[in-house]
């Protein structure tokens, strides 16, 4: 092969690889642009704060927004302590043995379980076996289990990034193992744990399949009064008004998609900001 051929080949190859990247990233931009452009018309104060009216063709989506916030709060209350403690076990206590290998494999598999299978599990264990019924409690726990691997993985990375010397110094001053973790390790891992938690929240807020059979109400124009009530939720609401109910104005559909997308993307943006601040501040 002569030199000219090699140079042409080089150019074609980078152009092709660049083309691949454009194919991945460009649709993201287009999707965001379409939803923003078509959804913004529907957004007003009433849309965000009023009850749906006339079979959801009019009024707002307030119960769906509130329902999603309840579910997300419940999921985090459950998953955050459990996830952080699991990460502490794996990083600080577990020996490199068979058990810790199995735990890690279990976490990898939890991350890969299809969301609809979480829905089945939630239905089987929380709704039926524990008799919580189709309720906020059952839905929040199902979502909590689903985001558990996200929180564990992020917390593990955060804990592992704290230098070993911090622990050695604390232990050498007579602190116990738990005191060392509590006062010398956790504070430094906190931003990383926070980042993971926010990402988990974003995931929980957007998931539909796990809440299909555990909590979501089709149309419920009043607010829940206890954790055993059903609620509407944003992602399920978007599914319902775009596939199940004819005659919903297009702008309402796009408006709902825009609210859901904004909520999720704002959470992710927040996580990215926390992470980059943390990276800049890190002194070791």
């Amino acid at each position: 092969m002569n030199l000219k051929n090699v140079k042409t080949q080089e150019k074609i190859a980078s152009a092709l690889l660049f083309g691949c990247t454009v194919l991945v990233v460009l649709p993201v931009v287009i999707i965001l642009a379409i939803i923003l452009y078509k959804g913004i018309a529907a957004i007003n104060w009433e849309f965000l704060t009023a009850m749906p009216k006339k079979g959801m063709t009019q009024g707002g989506i307030f119960p769906a927004i509130l329902g999603t916030l309840y579910l997300v709060a419940g999921a985090v209350l459950f998953a955050l302590p459990l996830g952080v403690l699991t990460a502490i076990y794996l990083v600080e206590y577990a020996k490199n043995n068979y058990l810790s290998r199995i735990i890690k494999l279990a976490i990898v598999n939890l991350a890969g379980v299809p969301s609809v299978v979480y829905g089945l599990f939630g239905l089987g264990i929380f709704v039926i076996f524990f008799q919580f019924g189709v309720s906020i409690l059952a839905g929040a726990l199902t979502l909590g289990i689903m985001i558990l691997p996200v929180i564990i993985t992020a917390s593990r990375e955060a804990l592992e990034s704290v230098p070993q010397s911090f622990r050695i110094v604390s232990l050498s001053l007579g602190a116990s193992k738990w005191q060392t973790i509590r006062h010398s390790v956790l504070p430094h891992a906190l931003p990383g744990i926070l980042t993971g938690t926010i990402l988990g929240i974003g995931r929980a807020a957007g998931e539909t399949a796990p809440i299909l059979f555990t909590v979501a109400a089709f149309y419920l124009p009043h607010l829940p009064t206890s954790i055993f009530d059903q609620v509407m939720a944003l992602p399920y609401h978007l599914y319902v008004i775009s596939t199940q109910v004819p005659g919903i104005p297009e702008s309402t559909r796009y408006g709902t998609a825009l609210v859901l997308l904004s909520l999720v993307l704002m959470l992710n943006l927040f996580a990215i900001i926390v992470r980059s601040k943390f990276r800049k501040k890190k002194k070791w």
């Binding site: 690889l17 076990y89 939890l110 890969g112 957007g206 998609a257 992710n268």
Partner: protein
């Protein structure tokens, strides 16, 4: 006294942490047990072989027929389509981001891909339904644009964040010396990328592809909204199909708790759980292979 109290406290904390540590195992086992508990009863009326290879999924006819072959074929069709579309494009962009893009561009592209991962699947399904469906309908002059092809394109897109980010990690983790050695021997950048770097990163790239495909098989909402939901064995990719996941999501609401249809849907859950468990397990082995090398 004080020391003893502290010791007790320390002991209790350690036990709590240990118990939390093993929760993940407990949850995986519980998921499996509950799927079996609710799903196995379907096999009192139908054998597992009939269930897996039966060609008719008519859950509400009398007597009901629970053959999931059309659903398996639906999942296979959209997954294959998605794999064909996403594998070359995904590896290509991972190579571009890791090897060619300048640092600033790389950060922007990675943020874009993270953004894509964050978009809820119901939103992607909604957009696919509103834009991709009509587009395919018009291009191929079909009665409906909600087909296996729309599903494949949507899913290929949704597999991208997984494929690109994990493959990119694997490529970046290839030691610098490999590249330097190749370049100093007179290889061009592209020759180095193609023959040296992509070979060294192979286990990680394979893991990335497997995890991407795992994500595709398990994806529910988007696929349910764009594939048209017909439980028939597809003959072309321009026909509506229904996947395993979409069947569960679409039909569970209509079933009677404890009935045979209900159990059949849980049995589909068992099939999905086993498939994704296998894929994730194998991908994990590949990922660790890569780490040992680097």
């Amino acid at each position: 006294m004080k020391v003893q109290k502290r010791k007790i406290k320390e002991y209790l904390i350690e036990k709590t942490i240990f118990l939390s540590g093993i929760t993940s195992i407990v949850i995986v086992v519980l998921i499996f047990i509950f799927l079996l508990k609710e799903g196995l009863t379907v096999f009192s009326s139908i054998s597992p072989a009939q269930f897996l290879t039966g060609k008719n999924w008519y859950p509400i006819s009398n007597p009901p027929q629970y053959g999931i072959l059309p659903l398996i074929m639906g999942s296979v069709a959209v997954t294959l389509g998605a794999a064909i579309l996403s594998i070359p494009v995904g590896i290509g962009s991972a190579l571009y981001i890791a090897e060619i893009a300048p640092k600033k561009t790389r950060e922007i592209l990675k943020a874009g891909i993270e953004l894509l991962a964050a978009i809820p699947s119901v939103v992607i399904g909604f957009i696919g339904m509103m834009t991709l469906g009509p587009l395919i309908k018009n291009i191929f002059h079909l009665s409906t644009g909600l087909t296996a092809l729309s599903g494949s394109i949507t899913l290929a897109f949704m597999a991208m964040p997984t494929i690109v980010s994990i493959a990119e990690d694997a490529i970046t983790a290839v030691p610098k010396q490999y590249r330097e050695a190749a370049l100093s021997m007179g290889a061009t950048r592209w020759q180095t990328t193609r023959r040296i770097v992509s070979h060294a990163a192979r286990p990680g790239i394979i893991a990335a592809l497997m995890l991407g495909i795992g994500r595709v098989i398990g994806e529910t909402m988007a696929v349910m909204m764009v594939t048209g939901n017909a439980a028939l064995i597809p003959h072309t990719i321009l026909q509506p199909v229904r996947t395993l996941t979409a069947t569960i999501a679409a039909e569970m609401g209509e079933t009677v708790q404890g009935g045979s249809h209900y159990a059949a849907l849980f049995a589909i859950g068992i099939v999905l759980f086993v498939i994704t468990f296998a894929i994730n397990g194998i991908a994990d082995i590949y990922l660790h292979k890569n780490r040992h090398k680097a």
